[in-house]
């Protein structure tokens, strides 16, 4: 089984510990994305898996074999780097063949492998070109070609799309996903872009400050973030955060903030939170826009509307904090006239403890 298992993996540079005992089990053929802000330890973790960083403590297993002390070349992994790491003096074919030549494969094997990879990645017309003569997207494909030509057990991607423009990034994202489906190789992908994480991953691992904050499927993390960090990190625009006080209402717990109140779900943890300060997490997509006359709507001081074609982002303030609403327009811009607030169903509000930032237990938002 070509899975990857990290047990209490630690990385320290002298007294400075940057990865604090990570536990992660990547299943065979799974596509796992490590996501988090800069400096959270995701690239360091990936480099430990690749063997480019020494493991300070813990145990790393690849394909059932402990590889802490195994040289990178013997781990049977291939890595795609952020800046492509293409050899400028070699043409595309030689770049792709580099790993095979180093391993002294026969000329026939090398030629057929390069040809096959060239066809898979649409690089056949460019095999004789040097990296300097290629576009960013083509270079990225060559970098991937160099990784897949060796048919490794595990692919490691270190922010491979960061150097591409937005359009190309979207295109290459889809290509990576297709390639993974086609090859079925266990993949670990590092990015700070939550859109990449959401679209590519079978499972996302959100990291912060050298620790795993949460892991799960993209929708699990999107709908049920365990803390305010994950809630704020995933989603674009991110989840709105509103400070509130929990009180008892006529139909169970309510969240009061200023003159406003929102009905909360009737679950034990929220009922027992009465009298405490909480942070309400409200996804911009989960609210229904309302106009001045709507009863029970929460007013928002709208100051900007961004139209994105089929939808719009309505920016405003709630309790002096920024608040964003995402709404479908389907091109009918008159829908946006007169919007002054929103409504939301109780089970779509995520409630976090104001002190710890942790989600109150028992809340489950379903798809």
């Amino acid at each position: 089984m070509s899975g990857v298992n990290l047990q209490s993996l630690v990385k320290a540079y002298g007294p400075l510990q940057v990865v604090h005992g990570i536990d992660l089990d990547v299943q065979e053929k799974e596509f796992v994305v490590l996501v988090g802000p800069s400096g959270c330890g995701k690239s360091t973790t990936l480099r430990m898996i690749a063997g480019l960083e020494e493991i300070t403590d813990g145990e790393l297993t690849i394909d059932g074999r402990i590889v802490n002390r195994v040289a990178p070349k013997d781990r049977d992994v291939a890595m795609v780097f952020q800046n492509y790491a293409l050899y400028p003096h070699l043409n595309v074919a030689d770049n792709i063949a580099f790993g095979l030549k180093i391993r002294k494969e026969s000329k026939e094997v090398i030629a057929s492998s390069v040809q096959e990879v060239g066809e898979i990645l649409g690089l056949t017309p460019y095999l004789e070109r040097r990296p300097a003569d290629l576009s960013g997207g083509q270079r990225q494909r060559v970098a991937m070609g160099r990784a897949i030509v060796r048919r490794p057990k595990v692919f490691l991607f270190d922010e491979p799309l960061s150097n591409l423009d937005a359009k190309l990034r979207t295109q290459m994202r889809a290509e990576i996903k297709r390639l993974h489906k086609r090859l079925g190789v266990t993949s670990i992908y590092v990015t700070h872009d939550q859109v990449e994480a959401m679209t590519l991953a079978d499972r996302i691992v959100v990291m912060n400050d050298g620790r795993i904050e949460q892991m799960g499927t993209p929708m699990e993390l999107f709908l049920n973030p365990v803390n305010t960090f994950v809630a704020g990190f995933l989603g674009s625009p991110p989840m709105n955060m509103v400070s509130a006080h929990v009180e008892t209402g006529a139909n169970g717990p309510i969240a009061k903030f200023g003159e406003n109140q929102l009905q909360l779900a009737q679950i034990p943890s929220l009922q027992s939170a009465v009298g405490t300060e909480v942070t309400l997490g409200i996804r911009p997509e989960f609210v229904t826009v309302s106009r001045a006359a709507d009863e029970g709507a929460i007013p928002v001081d709208v100051d900007l509307i961004e139209t994105l074609g089929s939808e719009a982002l309505i920016h405003g303030h709630l309790q002096a904090e920024p608040f964003v609403i995402r709404t479908e327009t389907l091109g009918q811009m008159d829908i946006l006239d007169g919007i002054s607030g929103f409504k939301i169903a109780p089970d779509l509000i995520r409630v976090f403890d104001a002190k710890t930032g942790l989600a109150l237990p028992g809340q489950v938002t379903k798809q």
Binding site: A50, G51, L52, P72, K73, D74, V77, A78, M79, F81, Q82, N83, A85, Y87, P88, H89, L90, F98, G99, I102, R103, R146, R150
Partner: protein, 315 residues
């Protein structure tokens, strides 16, 4: 009255654009000025004096007043055995220098790049850079002392193995190896800085990628480092070829003696003896001009070949 919007303004002439650029970026041109003045005073103005290579020059009549003699000095030059010997020695020593001296700084830089212990690396670098900063006179003194037949370290060591003392610096067959070896010892370390800088510019991810692919350090050196610094190597080679006749004149003057003229006398020492010591300025100017033309042809040829085959060139 407003201008017709359909009428295009004529494109300013090249001179006007240059003048505009100079006005706009005057600070850059001001910084360039000292170098231009230096070039004009020390490299271009002396070219006026080159004409004495074609004149029967007399210090009393001056450059302009001396009569023209055409290629007479060049005829004399190519019929002068001493010049032909000096030319042959120059070419041989330059080729030896190129063959043995050119790869050493590259080799040193590659070795320094492989040293992991930073303290050792810095100490070793300082030791090999040091001779460059020592005056040629002192270097010559060290060489003369080292090869002295009575107390020199070389003869002392040879004595341990029962070899009789050799007066190396009076033997024509030893002059070239000593001269080439001294040059390498003095300059290789300092010249390696250029290659070290080129190596520092190689992206570390190329090595990381190669490590994951399974390359050894030796393979990385051959397949990544050397090809990555090849452009620098070629540029340095072109410059070196251009200077092939510009052999280290001071060191030869300091080390050679009539007994070793046979292998030690080079074009520059010949010019020095004829021109400054013998007062034959016109004849020496002809030799110098010949030297410069050969260097120019060599640089042009090397640059053209390099441009054609490696896509790297000085211009």
């Amino acid at each position: 009255m407003s201008a017709d919007p359909n009428t295009r303004r004529p494109k300013p002439s090249r001179m006007v654009r240059i003048a505009d650029h100079m006005k706009r970026e005057w600070q850059l041109y001001a910084m360039l000025l000292p170098t231009i003045i230096w070039l004009l005073v020390f490299l271009y103005k002396p070219m006026y004096g080159l004409q004495i290579a074609f004149k029967d020059y007399s210090v009393f009549r001056g450059v302009a007043g001396s009569p023209w003699v055409g290629f007479e000095h060049f005829d004399t030059l190519f019929n002068n055995d001493q010049f032909l010997r000096a030319l042959k020695n120059t070419i041989i020593m330059s080729l030896y220098g190129l063959l043995f001296g050119f790869p050493v700084p590259i080799f040193l830089a590659l070795m320094f790049n492989e040293v992991l212990n930073q303290t050792f690396k810095k100490s070793a670098q300082t030791i090999v850079y040091l001779p460059h900063f020592i005056s040629s006179v002192i270097i010559a003194g060290i060489v003369i002392t080292s090869f002295s037949p009575s107390a020199g370290i070389v003869n002392t060591i040879l004595g341990w193995f029962g070899v009789d003392s050799i007066y190396f610096l009076t033997k024509p067959e030893w002059f070239r190896p000593i001269f080439i070896g001294t040059g390498i010892w003095q300059e290789a370390g300092f010249q390696s800085i250029v290659y070290l800088a080129a190596i520092a510019g190689v992206s570390p991810t190329l090595y990381e990628s190669a490590v994951v692919d399974g390359a050894s350090r030796w393979q990385m050196m051959w397949k990544i480092t050397i090809p990555s610094i090849m452009a620098t190597i070629i540029i340095m080679l072109i410059i070196r070829i251009g200077n092939i006749l510009e052999i280290s004149f001071e060191m030869i003057i300091l080390l050679y003696q009539p007994a070793t003229y046979e292998t030690a006398d080079v074009v520059n020492t010949f010019i020095y003896r004829q021109g400054l010591q013998g007062g034959q300025y016109d004849f020496a100017a002809a030799a110098g001009l010949f030297n410069a033309i050969v260097a120019f042809v060599l640089v042009m040829t090397a640059n053209t070949i390099s441009k054609r085959y490696s896509r790297t060139s000085l211009w």
